[in-house]
Amino acid sequence: MNNNKSADVVVIGAGVNGSLLATRLAKAGKTVLLLESGPKVGRDQLVERFRASAFKSDFMSPYPFSPLAPQPRYTPEPNDYLQQAGPHPFAAQYIRMFGGTSWHWAAQLWRFVPNDFRQHSQYGVGKDWPIGYDDLEEYYYQAEVIAGVGGSPDNGSPRSKPYPMDRVPASWLQQRITSRLAPDFTVLDDSTGRNSRSFDGRPACCGNNNCMPVCPIDAQYHGGIAAQQAENSGVQVVTEAVVYQLEHDAQGRITAANYYDWNKVSHRVTAETFVLAANAIETPKLLLMSASDKFLQGIANTRDNVGRNLCDHPAISVTFDVDEEIWPGRGPVSPCSIGQFRDGDFRREHSPFRIDISNASQVAAVTKEVLAEGYFGKKLQDEIRFRAARRLSIKNALEQLPDPNNRVTLSSNKDALGLPTPSLYWDINDYVVKGTAKTQACYDAIAARLGATNIRHSKTGKFSNRQHITGTLSMGLDPATSVTDQWGRAHDHQNLFMVGTGVMPTVGTCNVTLTAMALALRTADKILQETQHG
């Protein structure tokens, strides 16, 4: 380290992507300072909090909340952190903590299909990426090796090497559903970072069925593991450090980051290179907060693209009771899905989608349902057991096209540190609505094949969020319509890079983390290549 800088590289945000990048840089000999706004909390504490929670269906409830690094919360009541400015609420959910949001996921680690990178040239909708599947393929594999990913290989994403992890054995539920839905529907193993053998100092899955909100034994890969590996690799981690401003020089080079510790004392750190990894809402917030005389609209925002093109996978769902006992709750929570609607010429007309079949225990959900219907006594017992044995819960992930009007801006509200909170404007267009009609037809066909009763669709016109937040820091060839280049480098600032799902210009047809991880590793390599000559 030289020039009295805090480090060669400062990374802001210790989620999975920031941590992977930090680890790669540190292993190559860089000094890296990783700043995380939230605390470090051990897995055992999260397990304890989960078990004693009164809101178990809220996956955020085991995670600590602090007004100093606030995040959106919905139980016991929705908090005001996010201001909803659009026709559809964008009910984002993320964790500000060492390890980030992927602490509470089901480790779904999918590759895009090749057409996801070129939907505009291929189907005349949306945007093309500045890179293609082939540019990312080797990085997809590197990320899969790090996370221990396994799944069904015939899923539309070509592979140069087999999955590094064998498949996790399918539960009875998955076997039955797969068999009964064939041949109309092909049920695949999900691509997941879930151990089917001891790997990386972590044991194989033993069916805690608690992937969301927390795996008690770390059988699945998540950001907490990535962040710990960063620390073990020599990255200097500072938690409870809320970055509130980026400084720059007259040439637009980023020179420093200022952060508050949780005693509200301000600190300033400097580096040659800065990497933002604070998620697709918090990073735009930071950029917008860092407005200066030279950059009135914020850092990296001369063309007013920061925060725009906010996308998620809007989702609709259905539940029903199958005509045989399948007993969800045995094995991992998200083991399988239907991928045959991810790609095809229909993408000209309507949204593609993946259909996720849940294996999460339905006992608590059916208990609430049956109680609400007024049952009691023996009949209550019978109904709970009947439904818990047969309940299938299905949801989808619809691809939303980027729309510059969907955006993250700063609200006029302030948090406990006096920093502005995010405002989200989100709308759903016809492309998605037509996709939901197609999905519902699929749901009904699936239900019919399974002899289903008690079919309940989610409310028409309403969508839930899958938390696959993209677009707000879009990479692109044209600075007029993008924030970053193909390496995640800010068009406006030579030494400022961004990783995380925010740089993805489209949300694609699957969960987004593996793509973001691959991009982060690629960005890390780029930084190393550029800075190796001093």
């Binding site: 919360r73 805690n208 008690p216 709750g329 006992v363 608590a364």
Partner: protein
């Protein structure tokens, strides 16, 4: 902005009890699982799990007898666990003012109108809507292990809910292992 809804006394996760509490759990009779739950028929004729037994004698609480009686009527189970009933009643008192009074009203209603419990569902007269709600709250406590709503929701138990017990031959509560890798492949 609230902390996540862990009961207040558990929120300060930094607190640790001193090591000299080593002896006290020898007095505590922890639940010992001697056998297994046998399900005789699919309809769920349940052999109950050995019950929780309290560490020390339970502090007397007003209304426990009534609460147990009402709970037995509503669940149609005679062998409800007294320790759990005690904990539920404590929590219900915290979440609802005048719980014991409302409970007495519900008890009297159920005793004076036995036909109410002959139906399949709880459908009380409109005038008795509050009692119907209370009945559902009580059932919710036994079956979900949580009482109260929103900010007032209180955790009481997780693994000892009647729901968990009901399905314990087929699934375990999430957060506990089903078994070694692959054990979930066979038909339950």
């Amino acid at each position: 902005m609230d902390c996540s809804h862990v009961p207040c006394h558990l929120q300060n996760s930094g607190r640790r009890l001193p090591d000299n509490t080593m002896n006290h759990y020898s007095r505590r009779r922890v639940l010992k699982m001697a056998g297994l739950v046998a399900i005789a028929t699919a309809a769920g004729h349940l052999v109950p799990l050995p019950g929780l037994r309290a560490a020390q004698p339970l502090t007397p609480i007003n209304g426990l007898d009534d609460f147990l009686q009402v709970s037995r009527l509503l669940t149609q189970q005679d062998d409800l666990n007294t320790t759990l009933a005690h904990a539920l009643l404590l929590a219900l008192n915290q979440t609802q003012k005048s719980f014991v009074t409302d409970l007495t009203a519900l008890k009297n209603m159920l005793q004076s109108q036995p036909a109410l419990l002959q139906k399949e569902r709880l459908t009380f007269a409109t005038a008795d809507a509050e009692s119907e709600k209370l009945a559902k709250v009580i059932l919710g406590g036994w079956y979900n292990g949580v009482v109260g709503k929103g900010k007032d929701a209180l955790y009481v138990t997780y693994i000892n809910t009647l729901s968990s017990q009901l399905v314990s031959d087929k699934v375990v509560p999430p957060g506990f292992s089903y078994g070694p890798l692959g054990s979930w492949a066979k038909q339950p």
